[in-house]
Symmetry: C2
Subunit: 337 residues, 2 copies
């Protein structure tokens, strides 16, 4: 899912996203609640009408941003208090509020409010936290009334296998339209992340979508797919683009590198996107060096296309029962080994 943090996937129009074949687009409740405000988005007919994206859309609950961006906060049974990154004003999120805000935003999928503790907090904290997150999840489900909007629960529990199982059981017991794995990819090693996911993923209901929150590098995406994940989001492809870095079948390249200055070949010879079929590496490198908007736009377009295309290939490989081999070959080439 390309991330449209503030109601736009950086530099791309809905038409671009359609031409790419993007599926679900993600919006951030934290940002949209503060700017331009959920009441305005509701008045505009919801995020679809406001942004012009008529495809599927998912909003997070804002919990992750509260815990990762906010300068100060207090957490209680009731909810979480935080300081806006925009203007220092103080706000509270409760399960009821974030549910209502997401109903106002009107995405197709809403998420429960969860606490996302940073890597390294102790077992006792994780245990208390996941139980509160489960109680919050229950309140979200009770508060949720929008019938054409799915609501997903979130499994927490840090790196502790038994706590993950406890969180999963509590969340599944409440019953949601889909299940996310949160609290990973927050500072732990990739090995720890995958080991923890390997505990949770097989026990998630097989007939509901499984969403791994916050991974977007190509190899990571293939790794979580191999563990049974269906959905994932990350700002990485769009953020990389703004720094001049492009994803290609032969690995990540940075167009600020001197070797691309006179390279008249395409960005990624195997890619069919507008950036790769219409321009040379030399032109894109020129745009990036001059900090031209078009450079950001075209590389963002490519990176989102690249990830969308990768996932489409993964899906085909799964259907044809050749995912493991395809994925291994792909990762080896991407790593240049």
């Amino acid at each position: 899912m390309p991330v449209g943090t503030k109601g736009t996937v950086k530099g791309l129009t809905p038409g671009d996203l359609r031409s790419i074949g993007a599926g679900v687009v993600l919006g951030n409740t934290y940002h949209l609640y503060l700017r331009p405000g959920a009441d305005l988005v509701r008045e505009a007919g919801g995020l679809h009408d406001f942004t012009g994206w008529d495809g599927p859309m998912l909003t997070d609950s804002g919990g992750y941003q509260v815990f990762s961006l906010a300068k100060t906060r207090s957490i209680s049974e009731e909810g979480v208090e935080f300081v806006s990154v925009y203007d220092g004003s103080i706000h509270s999120f409760t399960p009821e509020l974030t549910t209502r805000v997401q109903e106002d935003l009107g995405a197709d999928v809403a998420m429960v409010l969860d606490e996302c503790p940073p890597a390294g907090v102790d077992r006792e904290y994780q245990a208390q936290s996941l139980r509160r997150t489960a109680r919050w999840a229950e309140r979200c489900k009770v508060a949720h009334g929008k019938e054409d909007q799915a609501l997903f629960g979130i499994v927490q529990g840090g790196l502790f296998a038994d706590l993950r199982r406890e969180s999963l059981e509590r969340t599944v017991a409440i019953g949601f339209d889909g299940y996310a794995v949160g609290g990973l990819s927050v500072g732990e090693s990739r090995e720890e992340m995958l080991a923890t996911l390997a505990v949770v993923a097989p026990e998630l209901p097989a007939d509901k979508p499984r969403y791994f929150m916050g991974i977007g590098d190509p190899v990571g995406v293939l790794q979580v797919i191999s563990l049974g994940v269906d959905m994932f989001d990350c700002v990485l492809p769009t953020r990389l683009a703004r720094h001049g870095a492009a994803l290609t079948a032969d690995g990540r390249i940075n167009l600020r590198n001197a070797r691309f200055r006179r390279d008249l070949g395409p960005l990624d010879p195997e890619c069919g996107c507008e950036a790769c079929t219409g321009y040379s590496r030399a032109y894109l490198a020129h745009l990036v060096r001059e900090d031209e908007l078009l450079g950001h736009r075209l590389i963002t377009l490519h990176n989102v296309y690249f990830m969308t295309h990768l996932c489409r290939e993964a899906r085909e490989a799964i259907v044809e029962a050749r995912f493991e081999e395809w994925s291994r070959t792909w990762i080896e080439r991407f790593h240049g080994s």
Copy 2:
């Protein structure tokens, strides 16, 4: 002519420009010579191939930037020495060099190297300068060898009617494919500018294109058209867009203004561009306030569309012999009077 200073009209693709119906796109020799270099552009097959714009293209000679951007310089009969705005390196432009560079860039129209003195220099300086510019123009014509590229002369002479006539006679005597009026819109009043243009325009050859360099506000464009000008360029529409300002039939509006925050109407109700038909003022205002790339992109698209459409209407009005009335009505409405 939308300005693609560094080989890109800020944020827009050639496809956007085609969909807008843009005609000639302008490139800046000064910038392209320094970054990425005319040799690279030539190697890429010229500006058309390098940028992907297959419509008509014009490059200036770089003279204007040398005289307006460069920190220090010396002017001699041979040419002009200047300091690069990019890295402080020292370069020289001669009529022969800028002609060759423009041949390398490969635009459809090239311009002679001229000196563009600032407003307020004295009569004696203007007289000496226009004569040197005429000698440079002659050298450009001699140096120019690219048969599928037009070469335009430039009339200088400041605000002195007799000097303008002298410059015009000298330039026309050399013989070019088109004629530009330079050295106006450089700090003098609009009245002085139009009065001076009124001296020159009627005496320019009627069978060659007339290009007024450096005007791009809607009213100014209509004013110079009424004096017989065929072509003009200015960064104003694209620069305004980056500051959140949009051109509309009812005047210029700035989307940072609080009154647009909750305005769910279209940017310009009479405009058919992608920004006006696909999004609300409230959404665009949100993008502008959040400094989102898509905001710059969509408002740039609108402003360029607006100017292109205005010129198309002007052309129709001229053909139907109702330009003066149409133009007067248009200006009154734009000014809100």
